[in-house]
């Protein structure tokens, strides 16, 4: 029997500390679901110090489509979690101005087994990179801003 996945999905306008968020998420799970999942997979993405053409990067600006981005993340994460039969998921994504070294995305998945946990984590990450309306603008030292029109290599 499959239970609906418990998903926590948030867009954050301020810097966040991934390990603190993970700890909160795990504590809440332990409180509500004493039979903790045996496998967890996680991905933390941070902003590079270089622009896509190798120049020093001052900041990355993350634009989203309010309403649609949240809805699309919910849809993607729900479909993926159900497909893999995972129990719990955490998806955090920054919006606004993000500095090099700061976390931009966190995906954590809890399941019975490592296979579903890792596959679901990877699939949600790729889905949000390609199927959720986010746009990145690179701000460079000379004050110019450039919209990125694709994703970084795998």
């Amino acid at each position: 029997m499959q239970h609906p996945p418990h998903l926590q999905i948030e867009l954050l306008t301020k810097p966040f500390e991934p390990l603190q968020k993970l700890e909160q998420w795990q504590q809440e799970r332990n409180n509500t679901d004493p039979e903790a999942s045996a496998a967890e997979a996680l991905f933390i993405g941070r902003v590079r110090g270089q622009s896509s053409d190798g120049q020093p990067l001052c900041a990355l600006e993350l634009e989203h489509y309010p309403g649609m981005t949240e809805r699309q993340l919910e849809r993607l994460a729900t479909a993926c979690s159900q497909r893999h039969g995972v129990h719990h998921g955490l998806v955090l994504h920054r919006i606004g101005r993000v500095l090099p070294g700061e976390a931009i995305v966190l995906v954590a998945i809890a399941a019975d087994r490592r296979g579903p946990a890792q596959r679901c984590c990877q699939e949600i990450l790729e889905a949000l990179k390609h199927e959720a309306p986010f746009w990145k603008r690179e701000w460079r030292a000379d004050g110019s801003g450039h919209w990125i029109t694709g994703n970084t290599p795998w």
């Binding site: 489509y65 931009i104 990179k129 986010f134 746009w135 990145k136 029109t149």
Partner: protein, 82 residues
């Protein structure tokens, strides 16, 4: 031709597309907005609709899907999340 205040849709642009156009949203009479591709042709923006994704009411949609009054139509340049 419909007049001001009659049935319209809302057209929205994002990121590089918005910057290039110089506006982020407009109201369009439904009479001139049969489908996303019809609106795109009238906007005469740089670029090919092949490289742009269409969303209607916060969901991805085909470029030839008929529009209805009250719809929110968005043209989305290539996405780069994560």
């Amino acid at each position: 031709m419909t007049g001001l205040g009659s049935a319209t849709i809302r057209v929205r642009l994002f990121a590089g597309l918005r910057d290039a156009a110089g506006w982020s949203e407009q109201e369009w009479p439904i009479d001139l907005a049969r489908s996303p591709e019809a609106v795109w042709q009238q906007l005469q923006l740089d670029g090919d609709l092949q490289t742009v994704r269409v969303a209607i009411n916060h969901a991805f949609a085909a470029a030839d899907k008929p529009l209805q009054a009250g719809d929110e139509l968005a043209f989305l340049p290539p996405i780069s999340g994560g």
